[in-house]
C-alpha cells in the first residue's frame, strides 16, 4: 500500500499486515454488540449512570498512569500500568455505552477529551493527587473494594450491555483489590516508616469515602438497572476491616468531606485537583481535534 506521505501511512487504520504499531485507529469498543435499550429503561438516566462509572474508571486510570516510569519498583510499575489499562478498558466500554443511550451520539473520545471539569461525574476520591506509595495503595484498595462490590451486583443489571461490562470487570477488579490489599498488609505490618505511610494513606483518603455510598437520584431512577450506592457499604466495611486487621492498621474515623451546596463529584462539583488532571489528559486531543491515533 502506498501513501503520499509518511504521516498518512502511520495513521492508516486498515492497511492490513503493514501496521506500524498496535492500538492505532481505535474504533468503538462496543462495535457489533447489540446495543438496543431494554424496555422501560430511561436512556438519559442510563447514559448518566454509565458516565458516572466510566468517569470513575477513566480518572482512576489516568492517576495510576502518572506512576509509569516512577513507581518504586519495576514489578509494581507493571502492576499499576496493567491495572490502569484494565480500568481504561472499562472506561472505554462505559463511555461508549453512555454515548449510545443518552441520545447525544458522542463517542468515547468526545466524552473523555472534550468535556469540561463540571461535566465530569466521577467521585472525588479518584482525582486525589498520587502522593506517596502508601497513598496510592490505600486509594486503590478503597476504590477497588467499593467498585468490586458494585460491579458484582451490576452484573445482574437489566441492561445487558452494562451487565456484560460489569461481569467482565469483576474478574479484573478482583485482582486489583488483592494487589492493593496485599501491599497494604506488607506496608502496615512492615517497618515503622511503612506503617506510618500506610496509615497516613488511609487517613488521607477517608474523608472522601462517604461520598462513595451516597445513593444518587440517577440510581433511584433506574431500579433494577443501577445499583443504589448505599447498598455497598456493608460489604466494603467488611473488606476494609479484614485488611486493616491483617495490616495492624486502624480503620479511620474521619468524617466525610463537606459537599458544596449539597453537591459532590457525581454532580460535577470536584476538588481543585481535577482541573489539572484534565488539562494534561485532554491537551493533545484539544490541540489536534482532527488527529487520529
Amino acid at each position: 500500500m502506498s501513501f503520499d506521505n509518511a504521516y498518512q501511512a502511520l495513521a492508516a487504520a486498515d492497511d492490513g499486515e503493514s501496521r506500524w504499531a498496535f492500538g492505532t485507529g481505535f474504533d468503538d469498543p462496543l462495535s457489533g454488540v447489540d446495543t438496543s435499550l431494554p424496555e422501560g429503561v430511561d436512556g438519559a438516566a442510563l447514559g448518566a449512570y454509565c458516565l458516572m462509572l466510566g468517569d470513575d474508571a477513566l480518572i482512576a486510570a489516568q492517576r495510576l498512569t502518572e506512576l509509569v516510569t516512577r513507581a518504586p519498583e519495576l514489578e509494581d510499575e507493571l502492576a499499576l500500568a496493567n491495572i490502569a489499562l484494565d480500568l481504561l478498558g472499562q472506561a472505554r466500554l462505559l463511555l461508549s455505552r453512555a454515548g449510545q443511550v443518552d441520545a447525544t451520539g458522542r463517542d468515547e473520545d468526545q466524552l473523555a477529551c472534550f468535556r469540561d471539569e463540571r461535566e465530569f461525574r466521577n467521585v472525588r476520591l479518584v482525582e486525589l493527587p498520587t502522593g506517596h506509595f502508601g497513598q496510592t495503595i490505600a486509594r486503590l484498595l478503597v476504590f477497588s473494594a467499593w467498585r468490586l462490590a458494585l460491579l458484582r451486583r451490576l452484573a445482574e443489571s437489566r441492561d445487558p450491555v452494562l451487565a456484560a461490562i460489569a461481569a467482565k470487570g469483576v474478574n479484573e477488579v478482583t485482582y486489583h483489590r488483592d494487589y492493593a490489599a496485599q501491599w497494604l498488609v506488607r506496608l502496615g505490618d512492615g517497618t515503622e516508616l511503612s506503617h506510618e505511610r500506610a496509615q497516613h494513606g488511609l487517613d488521607e483518603v477517608w474523608p472522601l469515602v462517604g461520598e462513595l455510598f451516597d445513593t444518587h437520584a440517577v440510581e433511584r431512577a433506574l431500579p433494577g438497572t443501577a445499583v443504589p450506592a448505599a447498598e455497598l457499604r456493608e460489604e466494603f466495611d467488611e473488606v476494609i476491616a479484614q485488611v486493616c486487621a491483617a495490616a495492624a492498621l486502624a480503620v479511620p474515623q474521619a468524617s466525610p468531606r463537606a459537599r458544596v451546596g449539597g453537591r459532590g463529584g457525581r454532580d460535577g462539583v470536584h476538588t481543585e485537583h481535577l482541573g489539572y488532571l484534565l488539562a494534561e489528559m485532554q491537551s493533545l486531543a484539544r490541540a489536534h481535534p482532527e488527529a487520529t491515533w
Binding site: A13, D14, G16, E17, R19, F22, G23, G25, F26, D27, P29, L30, S31, G32, V33, E75, L78, A79, A81, N82, I83, L85, D86, L87, L88, G89, Q90, R92, L93, L148, A149, R152, P160, V161, A163, A164, I165, A167, K168, G169, V170, N171, E172, T174, Y175, R177, D178, Y179, A181, Q182, V185, E235, E238, V239, Q242, V243, A246
Partner: protein, 171 residues
C-alpha cells in the same frame, strides 16, 4: 437468512480460525478461545470475537486482521462483532493452544477460579499454585510478579534451571 453450515461457511471459518493473536503469534484466535462464532448471512460473513481483558489493545488488531484475511480470501462482505457476555476465561484456551504456549516458552494457565455466588473473597495470601517450567519441566517455580508485559501474563522464575519465564494467569 443466517446459515451455520455449507462449503462457503466452512472456508470462512477455516480462514477466521487461522488468524493469529498479534501479541502471541504462535496462537490462533481459535486456540485462544477468542473466536466465538462464524456465520453466513446472505453474502455476509459474520465473525464474533470476544475480548480477553477489557483494556486489551490487541482486540482492535484482531478485528482488522479477521476482516483483512477474509477479504483476501474472497469474502467481500465481512462483519466482525464483539461479544462481551459471557466474559472470556483462560479455560477457553484449547489443548492445542496450551501445547503451543508451552512450546513457545510460556507456561499455560491452570483452571480458572470458580466463584461462588455472594461477595468475592479477599485473597491476602496467594495460594501456592503449581506451574511447571516450560523450559526444563521442573515444578519448582516461583512467582516474581503477578503482572507482566501484557495484562494476561505473570512473571515467574524456575528454581531448578534458574530461567525466568512468563505464565498466562488464570482468569
Amino acid at each position: 437468512m443466517v446459515t451455520t453450515t455449507g462449503p462457503g461457511l466452512a472456508r470462512a471459518r477455516e480462514v477466521a480460525e487461522h488468524v493469529t493473536d498479534p501479541e502471541l503469534p504462535v496462537l490462533t484466535l481459535a486456540d485462544l478461545g477468542v473466536l466465538r462464532e462464524v456465520e453466513l448471512s446472505g453474502e455476509t460473513v459474520i465473525v464474533s470475537i470476544t475480548p480477553t481483558y477489557s483494556g486489551c489493545p490487541a482486540l482492535r488488531e484482531m478485528r482488522a486482521d479477521v476482516e483483512n484475511r477474509l477479504r483476501a480470501a474472497g469474502f467481500a462482505d465481512v462483519e466482525v462483532r464483539t461479544v462481551l457476555d459471557p466474559p472470556w476465561s483462560t479455560d477457553w484456551i484449547t489443548a492445542e493452544g496450551r501445547r503451543k504456549l508451552a512450546e513457545y516458552g510460556i507456561a499455560p494457565p491452570g483452571s480458572a477460579p470458580q466463584r461462588a455466588p455472594g461477595p468475592v473473597p479477599l485473597t491476602l495470601q496467594a495460594p501456592p499454585t503449581r506451574v511447571d517450567c516450560p523450559r526444563c519441566g521442573s515444578p519448582e517455580t516461583e512467582e516474581v510478579s503477578r503482572f507482566g508485559a501484557t495484562a494476561c501474563k505473570a512473571l515467574r522464575r524456575c528454581r531448578s534451571c534458574r530461567e525466568p519465564f512468563e505464565h498466562i494467569k488464570e482468569i
